[in-house]
Structures are given as C-alpha cells and as structure tokens.
C-alpha cells in the first residue's frame, strides 16, 4: 500500500453531519467566492470508499473527519513554499483532524504526520474536484 495513503483513517459520516457541513460551507462561500475561478465552482460531494470526499473547495472548508486531495496551492510565495516543502504537494491525500476553537488553527493529517496551520493559509490550498483513484 502507498505510504502516504491515509484513507483508512477517514470515517464514514452520517447524513446529519453532512448537512451541518453544508451549512458551514454556505457561511464560508462568501469569503471564498472571490478567489474562486469560474472552472472551480463547487461540485456535489460524492461518497466513496466509505469516506466522504469533498471537491472543488479549499482545505479551510473541510469539516473535521473529512478527506481530500490537494490540487494546487495559490497565494504568497513564502508561505506557499513552506506548505509545499512540508509535503502539501499536488496529488497528496489529506485528512482534516480537528479545528481549534474561536477560529484558531487547523490540525490536518498529511503524509502520515500531523500538521497545524492557520485557516487563511489552508484557504490557499485547493482540493481536487475528482475522486482520487486508487
């Protein structure tokens, strides 16, 4: 098995959680919309491998327990360089573990380790809108 594959950690989420996620996303949509390319409109999330994959959104919009695949990083050079070097390269699979209270930093699982980053940095990480293939 591929070592960076963290998919087994992802949990199935029930419908209620998913609905809650939808609500959250609507709140986020306002701020994220400006940065959104026309081609990167939100897609309907799909269910696969027992985990919910969200597509066409940024890392900041993932709910705890959700997974995604990095497509590309936008934003300022230095912060972006650091994120890339820490392993957030296109194609890598990530899982949102938790978010700190009061809009604090996020805790994600990438390449088998836990990394903490702020929400506005996470908002520069765009996720794939296609389900990752095995």
């Amino acid at each position: 098995m591929h070592p960076s594959d963290n998919r087994p950690h992802c949990k199935t989420r029930n419908l209620l959680d998913w609905l809650r996620g939808q609500k959250q996303r609507q709140r986020f949509a306002g701020s994220a919309q400006s940065a959104l390319d026309a081609s990167e409109q939100e897609h309907v999330p799909g269910e696969s491998h027992g985990a919910l994959y969200r597509a066409g959104l940024t890392l900041a919009e993932l709910q705890p327990g959700e997974c995604g695949t990095v497509r590309r990083l936008i934003g300022a050079s230095q912060g972006r360089l650091r994120l890339l070097e820490m392993g957030l390269t296109p194609g890598v699979h990530i899982k949102m573990v938790r978010a700190a209270a009061f809009g604090g930093p996020l805790d994600i699982l990438v390449r088998g380790y836990q990394l903490s980053l702020r929400r506005d940095e996470a908002a520069s990480v765009w996720l794939d809108d296609e389900e990752p293939s095995k």
Binding site: P3, S4, E85, M86, T89, R98, F102, L117
Partner: protein, 716 residues
C-alpha cells in the same frame, strides 16, 4: 569531480561530522548518547544561533568532532536557523569548516517528510550517512521499515539506532570511521525536463563565476530559483548571478512554470518511489498508537477541556516548583548558615572576615540557595517540550497569539522565556516575519524568567503565610505561596499579551504572519536528555553566580562597608552613611511612592545587572548591617522579617511591600544580558533602550497602583 571537503580532511585533522535532521527526530538524544558530557554550547559569531559541538571516540581510537545543527525541515533558507545550517553544510562560513561527513538523522515513523531534507542533503555532494531512529515507534504503528532496501535506494549507508537503549551505536561509529572513504552520493532526484535547462544554465554560470564545485553549484542554483523574490541574502554571490537568477525566474513565470512546485513535487515523487519499497503498513494494526495519540489529542486539544488542562498543567508546574523545591532550598540555606557560623568562629574579626561572611557568603550563598527551584523549572520545561505537549499548547494558544500580532511560533520563545529571556530572544530567529519577531523580542522579558524566581521565593518564603487554599481532606493541593507564585507568572503573561497587542496596534502595524507547526506524536521523554538539559542550565546559572553575582556582591559589600563611621551609635546609622547609603538615599524619592525604602533601592539599582542579584544585594546589605552580632546567621528571610524602621518603629517589609516588590520585578527590565542580546538581535540601541524605558515605566506604574490600592483595601 573535486569535492571541496575531501581535500581538507586528512588523517591529522579530526573527522568533522555535522548532525542534521528534522525537529523531533531524536537528534538531541543521539547526540547526547554519542558524546556524553563531552560537549560545549556556544554561538556562531555575529549571530545567535546556538552552536553545539561534541567529541566522540571512534573504534580505531581517533576522535571525531560532532556538530549538532538546529532541527530543520528544509535547507531552503527561510529562517536564520536554516540559513546558518545551509551555510555550514556548504562550507560558506569562515568560523566553521565544511563538514567531512553529514550524519542525517531520519525518523522512521515519519519517513516521507524526513526524506525531503535527505534529498536536499544528497544534492550537496558531501558523503552522507543516515541514522534511522524511531524504528520502535514505526513498528508499533504497524509499519515495517526495510533499512537494507532504503540503503540501496539512497545509495548511502543506513544504520538503525535506538539511542535511548544505546542500540546500534557501535555500528554507527564503525560506519563514521570509514566516513572519509565513502563515495560521494549521487543526487537523489531527477530534475524534471521543464526546468532542467534553466537549472543547468545557472549552475554553469555559478561554476564559472564563483569556481563552485559542480554539486554545490547545482544545489545553489535550485535554491536561487525556488524563491519568487530574493529572500536569500546572498552577499557571497556576484550581481551577474543574481541578475541571471532573477531573469530566469521571470521567464519561468511568463511561461507559467511554477519552479518551486515542480522541483518540490519531483523530490516528493522520488520519495514516494523510495517509500513504496521500504515501508509496508499493516492495514489494521491491532493497537495503533496513532489511535491512542488521537485519544489523548481529543482531550488535550479540546476546545474547552484543552484550555482547562493547560491552565491546570501550568499551575501544577509552578506549585510543584514551590512544594518540591522547598526542602532542598531549606537544606542549602541551612548549609550556608552553618558555613557563616563556622567562618565567624574560625576567623579573627576584621575586614577580611566580613568580606567573606557578608560579601561573599551573604551574596552568593543566598543566591545559590535557589538552584533546586531553577533545576525544577528546567526539568518541567524540557519535559513538556519532549512529550509533545508544548506543540499542542501552541496550537491552543495560536488564536490568541494572532490576535495580538504574534506568531504561533512566538509561543515557544515566550514559553522558554519562563526559563530565561536570552535563549528565548535567540529562539525568535525561527520566526521569519520581522514585525512579529520584534514584538516577541519586546515582550519576551515580561515572562517571569528563572532569575526572578529567587526574588519571588525570598519574598514569598518570608512574608506569605503557608495557608491552605485548596485541598481534599488531608491532601493539600494549593497553598497561598503557590497561588501567589502562579499569580506572578500570570501577571507577567498578561502584561506580555497586552503590550504585544498595543505594539501591534501602534508601533508595528502589520498582518499576522503564517503559522506552520508540526504536532509530533506523544513520546516518553528520554530521562537522559532531560537531565542533560538541567545540568547544562545549572552550569550556566552557577557560572553566573561565580562571576557576575560574586563581583557585584563584593563591590556592594565594599560600598556598604566603607567609608567607616565607627563614631556613629547604631549599625543602621553607619550603613546609612556608607556609599550604599548615599546611593539608596539618592533614589529613595523615586521609589518611595511604591512603598520601598532606600535599602530596597540599593537592591533594585544593583540588580540591574541581573535580577537574582537583588537577593545577594539584600543579603550583603543586611549582613553588613549587623556585622558585629556574633550569631553569624546569614539567612536573609528572618532578617527581612525582623527589620524595623527606627524612625517609624514599623516593619520595613510587610506582606504588601513584598507583593509590590514582586510586581515590580515581574515587569521591570532588570537584566544586562537581555539588553545586550536585544541590541545584537535588533542591530542597534534603539529597541533595547525603548524596551528598558517602557518596562521600567510599566513596572513603576503598576506597582504604584498595587501599593495604593492595597493600602486602601487595608492591607499592610
């Protein structure tokens, strides 16, 4: 190909090995296991990145020098730590020779990210040996790491070590011994075709222009092209090169080639390939530590309970410093007292006896008495760091930090400021953002450092009754002294946050910088590493006691002893007419509104050198005062309690005065070394002078408030 390093290394010179690895990879544990106590800590000249060097005897009897570089994720120079490490490894620093060999410590349980640095090290063309650590942790996570396959894939020797149990050290040393004869490793990754031509062009230019060996030129050209603007200060590079680099970057940007992404992806592509053969993971390990870590995290990082726990941990640490530390402190104090009595009886009366007893024993003896509590503080700090809790605390605190314009990373310097502001200010070098770094430097000395502990301990020990505040049945959990101590620490923290917010809003406006922090898995800390750190810090404290504090004590004793006025009736009057008396009287008007008398003034003035000098200064002053009593007792606490002002007939020190003095010491900038470090770090006198002014002003104002409000509330 000529390597720049192999020509330097000959049989007469000791083998020079650089230890490089990610933070939390077990580098310090391995360094300690290899070198034992044969290490020394210093600084790179001109900068304040810590330079740690040790010696190790190889199996053939030869001695090798080991250089412990700071923990790094990458060689791309984003912070001073990385810049220095990169310069050392490339042989660009005049003060440190290029290493003959790189010992790369790789965490097996986190192989992918660790190998990123390895791929950069393999670029340099210096022989590399890999020490694979944490294989036990990887094993528990159900991962099998095939070291032999890794060795084949990397093309360099790979040795498995468990430093805490001294496993694999012999094999590692045997490999180090052969280090000089190792072939130069091949670059690990392949430069993708879309950027290969540009890298090659710059590399050739670097070879011609700077006579760099091909491999170093290659590494340098990659680094230069990675940045979108010239973040690397490259004074050693000619304008032609920098110009070419800039033009190439612009051309790449025009063609929409993202150089950094392409290069980093290529490295990680290579890593993924390496890992497929090396790592195999059980799909469902029976008892995954990842799961148990996650269970701890759920509590520790909980949006509510996490903060409760944080508060409890901090309180417990400071309460236990007081409870556990008290017995050895009392023991040491009794020893100092006995020595005083012994001196009084064994030496003839006179100036010399007085110098020894009042000056040296009263000053230095009273300060050294606080060593146990300082050791405990460092014990807890390294414990919290090594278990992985510190990173979680930074995660919890980041929101607050960003609100006041600080970096999540500012949290680590601020926390280590509890030990000492000097390493804390040095640690701000990991913060890339200039403004966030400056704010951190400005507020770091407000956190209560270990040098304040003697002042707190003296005041609390003498004036705060040991009443129980919280307890269950016979078990006392919190005492009034403990609460007072915690309050002082929290006062310092609050002041630091308020001032940071103020600076963020006024002087140093700017956006909150980025924050990236690894949350390392929970680990049992190595007792050896913790103890080593304690010994290191204790050594520094004793060194200060033997130099600065001794000198100040002797000078102060002389000032308090001369000019002699034998005609005056009381000791008090004689002290008042000494040099110290004049000095204290001179500043009394400035501190009288705070409820301080001239003797405390002497303490405050002389402790500008270092805060703990206050204790020794009081020790000296109070011992000179009753030099003619023959009891020989030097314990300061009783003396302070018994001191009565002859004019008013009241106690000079009251619990309120004690609290005011502590508050003053929480906030005032009373440390020459900190001033010196701030000057060096900010390159000028502007910021350190500003810092002295604002902190002294703040201290005066708050103490004034506490004294008068306390008085109004009826406290004595």
């Amino acid at each position: 190909m000529i390597a720049p390093v192999a020509t330097v290394g000959n049989a007469t010179k000791p083998l020079f090995v650089a230890l490089v690895g990610n933070p939390n990879c077990g580098k310090t544990t391995l360094f300690n296991a290899l070198t034992g106590l044969r290490q020394k800590v210093g600084n790179y000249p001109g900068v304040t990145v810590e330079k740690k060097e040790g010696r190790v005897t190889l199996p053939n009897g030869e001695t090798a020098r080991l250089l412990d570089l700071p923990g790094l994720y990458s060689l791309t120079p984003n912070s001073p730590d990385e810049t220095i490490s990169r310069e050392v490894l490339m042989g660009l620093r005049a003060d440190t020779p290029a290493p003959d060999l790189i010992l790369n410590i790789v965490d097996a349980s986190n192989l992918e990210r660790n190998l990123y640095l390895t791929s950069q090290l393999l670029d340099l063309g210096t022989p590399v040996i890999v020490a694979l650590t944490m294989t036990d942790a990887a094993d528990k996570e159900g991962m099998t790491i095939r070291a032999a396959v890794l060795e084949k894939q990397l093309g360099v020797p790979v040795r498995v070590v468990v430093a805490s149990r001294r496993q694999g050290l012999k094999e590692l040393l045997a490999t180090l011994e052969k280090g000089r004869d190792l072939p130069f490793p091949a670059p690990a990754w392949t430069v993708p075709p879309e950027i290969a031509a540009d890298v090659e062009e710059l590399r050739t230019e670097l070879e011609i222009e700077h006579h760099l060996p091909p491999r170093l030129a290659f590494a340098e050209s990659i680094t230069l092209l990675m940045q979108e603007n010239d973040i690397v200060s490259a004074p050693h590079l000619s304008p032609t090169i920098l110009d070419l680099a800039r033009k190439t970057r612009e051309r790449l940007a025009d063609h929409e080639v993202d150089f950094a992404a392409v290069a980093i992806e290529a490295r990680y592509g290579w890593i993924t390939k390496v890992c497929t053969g090396v790592v195999s993971q059980e799909v469902r390990p029976k008892r995954s530590p990842l799961l148990s870590h996650e269970k701890i995290d759920r509590l520790v990082m909980h949006p509510f309970w996490g903060y409760v726990l944080f508060f409890v941990v901090m309180t417990a640490v400071f309460q236990s410093i007081f409870t556990i530390g008290q017995a050895p402190v009392d023991f040491l104090k009794a020893g100092v007292d006995k020595l005083g009595v012994l001196l009084t009886h064994s030496m003839p009366a006179g100036d010399l006896r007085d110098l020894f007893r009042s000056g040296i024993l009263g000053g230095v003896g009273n300060t050294i008495g606080f060593l146990p509590q300082i050791l405990l503080l460092f014990f807890f700090i390294s414990l919290l760091e090594d278990t992985g809790y510190m990173a979680r605390a930074a995660f919890l605190m980041d929101r607050l930090m960003s609100k006041v314009g600080l970096h999540g990373k500012s949290f680590i310097p601020l926390l280590s400021s509890f030990a000492c502001a000097i390493p804390a200010i040095m640690a701000t070098r990991t913060i890339g953002d200039r403004k966030a770094r400056l704010i951190t430097i400005l507020v770091a000395p407000l956190m209560s450092c270990s040098a304040r502990l003697p002042v707190y301990a003296l005041m609390i020990g003498a004036f705060i009754p040991g009443r129980r505040v919280l307890g269950i049945g016979g078990l006392t959990l919190l005492t009034l002294p403990g609460v007072t101590l915690v309050t002082m620490y929290f006062l310092g923290m609050t002041a630091a946050f308020c001032m940071a917010w103020l600076f963020h809003r006024t002087l140093l406006k700017g956006v909150a910088p980025t924050f990236l922090l690894e949350l390392p898995p929970y680990r049992l800390p190595s007792l050896k590493t913790v103890i080593f750190q304690m010994i290191e810090r204790a050594g520094l404290f004793l060194k200060r006691a033997a130099t600065v504090i001794l000198a100040v004590s002797v000078v102060l004793w002389a000032l308090a002893y001369y000019p002699k006025h034998p005609e005056l009736p009381t000791r008090q009057a004689r002290l008042e007419h000494s040099f110290v008396g004049y000095l204290g009287r001179g500043i009394e008007p400035a501190i009288a509104p705070l409820g301080f008398d001239w003797k405390m003034g002497v303490g405050i003035v002389s402790s500008f050198v270092a805060r703990e000098v206050f204790v020794s200064a009081m020790g000296t002053v109070y011992n000179v005062e009753d030099a003619d009593t023959d009891t020989g007792q030097v314990d300061l606490r009783n003396k302070l309690r018994d001191d009565i002002d002859p004019r008013t007939g009241r106690h000079v020190f009251t619990p309120l005065t004690a609290v005011c003095l502590m508050v003053y010491y929480v906030l005032a900038m009373q440390c020459m070394s900190t001033v010196a470090v701030v000057r060096r770090e900010t390159n000028g006198w502007k910021w350190p002078l500003f810092q002295i002014a604002y902190m002294t002003g703040l201290a005066w104002g708050v103490t004034f408030l506490v004294y008068h409000v306390g008085h109004l509330l009826g406290f004595q």
